[in-house]
């Protein structure tokens, strides 16, 4: 087994705020191979975006404590200097954000913003950068790229802006792309276009993608492996089919039960997760999900409130962090989870 392209080991991120220490990420580990996509699912405050910022080194260094290891192609990003990171960002690794309008400068043309990254990393001339921008816009499917390259972001529609941002992220053919809710603000038809585009580009260039979203439908469509986060920890991981078809963690069951579908039964109420996501300022003891978990009392000795369940990995990267026994899970899942078409 060769070393994975991106390897995150026991990542811990904490911010000191006025109210106290916020442990946004608490012992997260995952690997990502070249050319594959890892989907990270979680609700707001689960630590998924913080993980991304830490990988790119974009966190506020003064107020943030980052611990653990982030190895990109064998190089530890957490010990890298700002200069080394600058050389990597936009070149070897890049990022797409949720809000394209806020992430593009309103004062510069789209072409210039795409070309800037390219010039910085390759030392290309203005002229070459412009040609490259046109090529990138064409590649992401913008019609008449040679004209649109001189447009400003406000002249683009929402879907086109997202494409322009993807063009900017991919201009140096990065090996790692981090996409943080890239389609959340988009309509479904445009979302489908953007996901197709990312898949096509990945096939062509073998980019590794970390795809963060709260939408399990999007995950089913794009991810090879899935990692479910709750309260700064990974509660379940595995391949897409493992996590979506035979989910093992009560939180994942809850997420699936909360989502109405286009072809499931209609006249049954949804089965939401009761309660609220935890505050990371003062997270629950033991398993962070236990105050909302319907099965906590089924665990012998009430361990959920006291012991944090470790993420048990059983071969092939499949893992669950839950005190329920395998038999219990099988039994409860059949009773509880949404009926899966088979």
């Amino acid at each position: 087994m060769n070393t994975p392209f991106l390897s995150v080991r026991d990542l811990r991120v904490a911010f000191s705020t006025e109210d106290g220490l916020v442990r946004a990420v608490d012992g997260l580990s995952f690997d990502l191979e070249q050319g594959s996509t890892l989907g990270i699912v979680g609700e707001s405050g689960s630590g998924k975006s913080v993980t991304n910022l830490a990988i790119l080194g974009l966190h506020d260094r003064e107020h943030t404590d980052v611990d653990g290891e982030i190895l990109l192609d064998g190089k530890d990003l957490l010990t890298a200097t700002e200069r080394e990171l600058e050389r990597l960002r936009g070149n070897t690794m890049s990022m797409i954000f949720q809000d394209a309008l806020a992430s593009l400068s309103p004062f510069h043309t789209v072409g210039r913003q795409i070309g800037e990254t390219y010039r910085k990393h390759t030392g290309a001339s203005r002229h070459e950068a412009r040609a490259r921008s046109v090529e990138m816009l064409r590649r992401v499917g913008i019609p008449q790229p040679d004209l649109r390259v001189d447009d400003y972001p406000h002249q683009f529609s929402g879907g086109m802006r997202q494409r322009a941002m993807i063009a900017m992220a991919l201009v140096c053919d990065p090996e790692l792309l981090i996409a943080d809710e890239p389609t959340t603000a988009l309509d479904v038809t445009v979302q489908a276009q953007i996901m197709d585009l990312l898949k096509d580009l990945q096939q062509e260039f073998g980019t590794a993608i970390v795809f963060v979203t709260h939408d399990l439908g999007v995950i089913a469509n794009i991810a090879d492996d899935v990692l479910v986060m709750y309260g700064g920890r990974c509660v379940e991981r595995g391949t897409r089919n493992q996590v979506l078809r035979t989910p093992q963690h009560p939180y994942t069951w809850g997420l699936l039960g909360s989502m109405p579908s286009l072809d499931g039964p209609v006249d049954v109420p949804l089965s939401p997760i009761p309660g609220l996501p935890p505050s990371l300022l003062n997270p629950p003891s033991g398993c962070r999900f236990h105050p909302r978990c319907a099965f906590a009392e089924k665990v012998h000795g009430g361990r959920c409130a006291t012991d944090s369940p470790p993420l048990e990995i059983n071969g092939g990267g499949r893992g669950t962090a839950c005190h329920l026994t395998a038999e219990q899970r099988r039994e409860f899942f059949v009773d509880y989870a949404t009926p899966q078409p088979n």
């Binding site: 399990l216 439908g217 939401p272 078409p341």
Partner: protein, 341 residues
């Protein structure tokens, strides 16, 4: 319609927002045709889902129905009364029967008011004194929407997004409305919280017999909530039908494309539904295409589609039936729900 008049009857509803420009004299240079000739009916106690992509005019429609916007043309009849251009005074009694729930639970609650003041606000404005007093009623309402009545004196910032949305729901219920227009009521919430609020709204709709216009872009949630569904595209309704009929047997090409674009967490390696790839963007409502507005993205479009706007007509079914606005409607029963692996 089954004999009785609908609670809300909208015909030919149109809203054009003028666009001003030019120098030195600014004059009207065009109009954003946000809603253009829209027909809609909501029966007493019925939930109608209004779906469409951003910019299709669904929110404008919601604001026209509640008369927060003045329609350019068309007619709105509520409970037999023409309220299209009713004055503020004439509207007052109607407004207490039509309430609205907004998308943003942060912007729609006054941060300086306590929850109690927010929820009893509508009663105060309308001078309603329920038995036992407004405060008691407000506490009751908080309990109905699943909040602790003891939170009466707290401020909105002390609540999470989902709880705030519940406060908005309690406010909408304060006057025992007959019609609630909910504009994207759950889209700002986390998945697990969304389900809580959807269940709450559904329980209220059924138990209290309130008619709902549920505006959303999420097709799965609309399917879950609505009895009838209307699909909008660029200011017009392209298809409307009973829920099951619309989702299992869509007849308008746009509805088919829209449904096929929704990613589903079925986790199958072979996609259960064939995706219809729509290319391009929604055209600008400033200058919409002639004829059928969907024709620029439609794979079936012909010259007829450019020349002649298709009317919203019944293609099958009884009662209100299944209406679609297309010259070449789909043959139906091609995309079944059992196609999943």
């Amino acid at each position: 319609m089954s004999g009785t008049d609908p609670l809300l009857d909208v015909t030919g509803l149109t809203k054009h927002f003028p666009v001003r420009g030019g120098f030195p004299v600014r004059r009207t240079v065009g109009a954003v045709q946000a809603v253009d000739g829209l027909d809609l009916r909501v029966a007493e106690g019925e939930s109608l889902g209004l779906v469409g992509e951003s910019g299709c005019g669904k929110s404008t429609t919601g604001r026209l129905i509640t008369r927060l916007l003045e329609p350019t043309a068309g007619k709105i009849t509520y409970a037999g009364q023409d309220i299209t251009h009713a004055s503020r005074k004439e509207l007052a009694p109607v407004r207490s029967e039509i309430q609205m729930i907004f998308q943003d639970p942060y912007a729609s609650l006054n941060p300086r008011h306590t929850v109690g003041k927010i929820v009893s606000g509508p009663m105060e404005i309308n001078g309603i004194d329920p038995k036992g007093g407004r405060e008691r009623r407000a506490r009751e309402l908080l309990e109905i929407v699943g909040l602790n009545p003891e939170h009466y004196n707290r401020f909105p910032h002390e609540f999470s997004g989902g709880q705030r949305q519940r406060i908005g729901v309690a406010r909408a219920l304060a006057l025992s409305p007959r019609l609630v227009v909910a504009d994207e009521p759950v889209s700002a919430l986390d998945v697990s919280i969304q389900a809580q609020v959807v269940n709450l709204l559904q329980t209220l709709q059924r138990d209290l017999g309130i008619a709902f216009v549920f505006i959303a872009h999420d097709l799965a949630i609309v399917r879950h909530f609505s009895q009838r569904v209307a699909v909008m595209y660029l200011g017009r309704i392209v298809e409307t039908a009973d829920r099951d009929d619309l989702y299992e047997n869509p007849r308008h090409p746009y509805t088919r494309a829209l449904l096929s674009a929704v990613p589903e967490a079925t986790a199958s390696d072979t996609p259960p539904r064939t995706r219809i790839r729509l290319t391009g963007d929604v055209p600008s409502p400033l200058n919409p295409p002639s004829g059928c507005r969907f024709r620029t993205r439609c794979w079936k479009a012909t010259e007829r589609c450019a020349a002649e706007a298709p009317a919203l007509v019944r293609v099958e079914g009884n009662g209100v039936g299944h209406l679609t606005a297309c010259h070449y409607p789909e043959a139906g029963r091609t995309m079944t729900s059992q196609a999943a692996a």
